[in-house]
């Protein structure tokens, strides 16, 4: 069989095989059972909590959780702003890179606080080493940890009981960082550093090029530490400008496997963790099944199309034996690039190993769809929250269809929960489409504004992609877009912050309200939610919502482009 196809089969198999034991481990961490890392982290965490004055036995209600989350994120934003706007004169800046302008710092700070990692700067020229480590790498841990912590709150709310006590936010947050993200990052960073990803503190190196004999400057730095966590925490913000397409950030096929597995490992493991944590394995299998179905639906045509190549280039009469190679690297090939492209967009990762702007039209569309749905695996923690919203809607609709009271996990779903769920489900298309519409308007009024790197339908796709990526907290881009301008920095910043926190507040509120309701034990009249029938129902809800919201915009962008080069 084709070795490129084998490569992606290996990656997916490996991910699922690792995600099952990891899910079991994550469930143990959150339920406070003993694990093999206790001797190191028990004393460490105890000291952290003692010094911070936090009593982890003090359980919080859903509102207290949200207050804790928003407060700490608010503080983080100022730390990020301070570092980004002052890195130019702060120490450890060997390449003498400048401080960021206020609007760029605003965008970048929100981007990293919100686990998005949209980058309107380029790593080599826009960040000091200090900024890369104490700001960006740091945020890649804590924003992921915060997302996972809030996911556990929803897990707690799904327990078969009536209670408003949903655990302690700080406890879940710190344990996510220390016991899950940190150990995995150490493993991944070690593997990639031995395969050629730099981890050094000196500035640029230089060499004399072989053919021309001129001096070439070579950027390097403490990359390995950052690359590991950017992959594992569904962050995606690369050390170098072109992210994991860079030959130092992702030097060979092995590092590509490790980095790509890292993208979806924790999102999948969180789904299994739900099953272990609540002892509802069938439910987590149903969720995993629906997510995988959606993922494969986007993946398979993308791999096929990238391997087939660009039809416009085929008609020039050359050989596309490696597929569509514009924006791709030979060491990965087009199959592994398409696989990365879809895994990074269905999760909210957003790192890239090929330029998405140069994908063939429909692959670009599937990448967009991955972010528009944003719940096929999804970001660490928050991916499940998005899925939870779809479950609530599906429970309600199917309850109406078969004439039963809509119940989920023994709790009745009523008007208030449905209102919240609907608002959250519609917020995502609203932000994306309103942003794109506004920008399109500005572009039409000022055609010389110079944003777009491509004309016609593809230019529209560039704008659509930027807002979709912001709203999905993804961070990848059709990077041809000239996005480091006041307009894009501010609008994307606002969209990122709204679409990070509202889709957290909504599901947590629903879960909190449900947790407080009377528990109704399962009976013959209960709609079963852990069956494949219900799974298909959720899948239908997701696809119908996505199609109704986004089909017109996709028609104007990638679908029209597809037909122009046939």
């Amino acid at each position: 069989m084709n070795t490129e196809i084998l490569g992606i089969i290996l990656m997916f198999t490996l991910t699922v095989l690792l995600a099952i034991p990891l899910g079991r481990y994550i469930a143990k961490v959150y339920s406070g059972e003993s694990t093999f890392l206790d001797p190191i982290f028990n004393p460490l965490e105890k000291h952290f909590f003692r010094i911070s004055g936090i009593n982890i036995r003090q359980e919080m209600t859903w509102k207290q959780h949200l207050i804790a989350l928003l407060t700490i994120n608010f503080l983080w934003f100022f730390w990020a702003m301070f570092i980004l706007m002052n890195q130019g004169w702060l120490p450890w800046n060997p390449d003498k890179n400048p401080s960021m302008s206020a609007d760029l710092a605003f965008n970048t700070a929100i981007s990293f606080v919100a686990n998005t990692n949209l980058q309107h700067y380029s790593g080599e020229t826009g960040m000091s080493y200090l900024g890369q480590i104490v700001c960006l790498t740091f945020f890649q841990f804590i924003s992921a940890g915060a997302g996972m912590a809030i996911c556990v709150v929803v897990f707690n709310a799904m327990k078969e009981r009536t209670s408003e006590k949903l655990g302690n936010f700080y406890n879940y947050f710190l344990k996510s960082c220390t016991r899950i993200l940190l150990p995995l990052s150490l493993i991944v960073a070690t593997i990639i550093v031995f395969n050629g990803t730099p981890m050094n503190i000196e500035g640029k190196a230089s060499f004399i090029s072989m053919q021309a004999g001129d001096t070439v400057q070579l950027s390097r730095g403490p990359a390995a530490a950052m690359v590991a966590i950017k992959q594992l925490g569904t962050n995606g913000g690369g050390f170098f400008g072109v992210n994991s397409a860079h030959p130092l950030e992702n030097p060979n096929y092995l590092t590509n496997i490790v980095e790509n597995v890292s993208i979806i490992l924790i999102p999948i493991a969180m789904v299994f963790a739900l099953g272990f944590y609540l002892k509802r394995k069938r439910l987590s299998l149903m969720i995993f099944g629906v997510m995988t179905l959606g993922f494969l639906l986007f993946l398979l045509p993308s791999v096929y199309l990238e391997m087939k190549g660009n039809t416009a280039i085929s008609s020039m009469g050359i050989s596309q034996q490696l597929g569509s190679m514009e924006g791709k690297e030979v060491r990965f090939g087009s199959a592994a690039s398409a696989y990365w492209g879809i895994t990074t967009t269905v999760t909210s990762n957003g790192s890239v190993n090929a330029m998405h702007d140069s994908f063939t039209p429909l692959t670009g569309m599937f990448a967009l769809l991955g972010m528009m749905v944003n719940a096929f695996y999804g970001g660490v923690g928050v991916g499940f929250l998005n899925f939870y919203i779809f479950i609530i809607i599906a429970v309600f609709i199917s309850g109406l269809m078969v004439g039963r009271t809509p119940e989920f996990m023994g709790k009745k779903i009523e008007a208030r929960e449905m209102k919240i769920a609907t608002i959250i489900a519609l917020l995502h298309p609203l932000l994306i489409l309103a942003g794109t519409a506004l920008s399109s308007y500005v572009f039409v009024v000022h055609p010389n504004i110079g944003w777009l790197n491509n004309p016609s339908f593809h230019g529209f796709s560039e704008m659509l992609y930027e807002y979709t990526s912001s709203a999905a907290n993804n961070g990848s881009g059709f990077e041809g877009l000239g996005d480091n301008t006041l307009w894009w920095n501010i609008t994307c910043g606002i969209i990122m912050i709204l679409s990070r926190f509202l889709p957290i507040i909504g599901p947590v509120a629903i879960a909190g309200i449900l947790a407080n309701k009377k528990y109704i034990p399962e009976s013959a009249g209960t709609l079963k939610t852990d069956t494949s029938t219900f799974g298909l129902m959720v899948f239908a809800v997701i696809m119908i919502l996505a199609a109704l919201s986004f089909f017109p915009a996709l028609t104007l962008g990638p679908i029209s482009e597809f037909f122009t080069i046939q």
Binding site: L182, T197, Q211, V216, H246, L248, L322
Partner: protein, 187 residues
């Protein structure tokens, strides 16, 4: 909210120490055992550093195997791809021009044999590799230019071909810098 601020500040500070100071230092420590202590592996010739093993550089003269087109001109301090969409007419004209130029320099090659990676820009602008086929189509030109037999060059390509990972996964490829070094050493 007020009662949360102080714990949040303290916990953030402690996490900063652990995740942004201790963790990078551990990796930095581990890196000391990695190839060239994690400072990028370089290649030397006559005691001069002529490149980094993993980072592509520009080869566009006829006496060397060409590397891939790069929109950043192989500037290793500022990576980047073209970000051109597949239907962009300017972009397609660029590719057509690259094909025409290639055919002028390689008159023995049929158009249908030109592999696309030789006329499309890589994602990073620093792609160090081409495919074995991408090297083979250049053999006639280099053989003529350097007065070496085709067999010798084909053999050189064979030696420098890197198999897929574990022989099973991913693409076959050739590091252009290493290939050209070996080419210079042929004489």
């Amino acid at each position: 909210m007020k009662s949360q601020i102080l714990p949040a500040i303290k916990l953030t500070f402690l996490s900063l120490v652990l995740l942004a100071i201790v963790y990078p230092l551990i990796i930095l420590g581990i890196a000391q055992f990695a190839p060239n202590s994690g400072k990028v592996q370089f290649i030397e010739r006559n005691n001069k550093i002529i490149g980094a093993e993993n980072v592509g550089q520009k080869f566009d003269q006829d006496r060397y195997f060409y590397s891939r087109p790069s929109v950043v001109n192989y500037n290793a301090a500022s990576s980047g791809g073209s970000n051109k969409g597949p239907s962009n007419p300017d972009y397609l004209a660029t590719v057509q021009a690259r094909i025409d130029t290639f055919l002028v320099h390689n008159p023995t090659v049929a158009k249908a044999d030109i592999p696309s990676e030789l006329v499309t820009a890589s994602g990073s602008g620093l792609d160090p590799h081409i495919s074995p086929k991408g090297a083979l189509v250049q053999v006639d030109r280099i053989a003529k230019k350097r007065n070496i037999s085709n067999e010798k060059l084909i053999n050189l390509i064979k030696i420098n071909t890197e198999k897929p990972f574990l022989g099973l996964f991913g693409t076959e490829k050739i590091n252009v810098l290493k290939l050209n070094l070996a080419l210079d050493n042929l004489k």
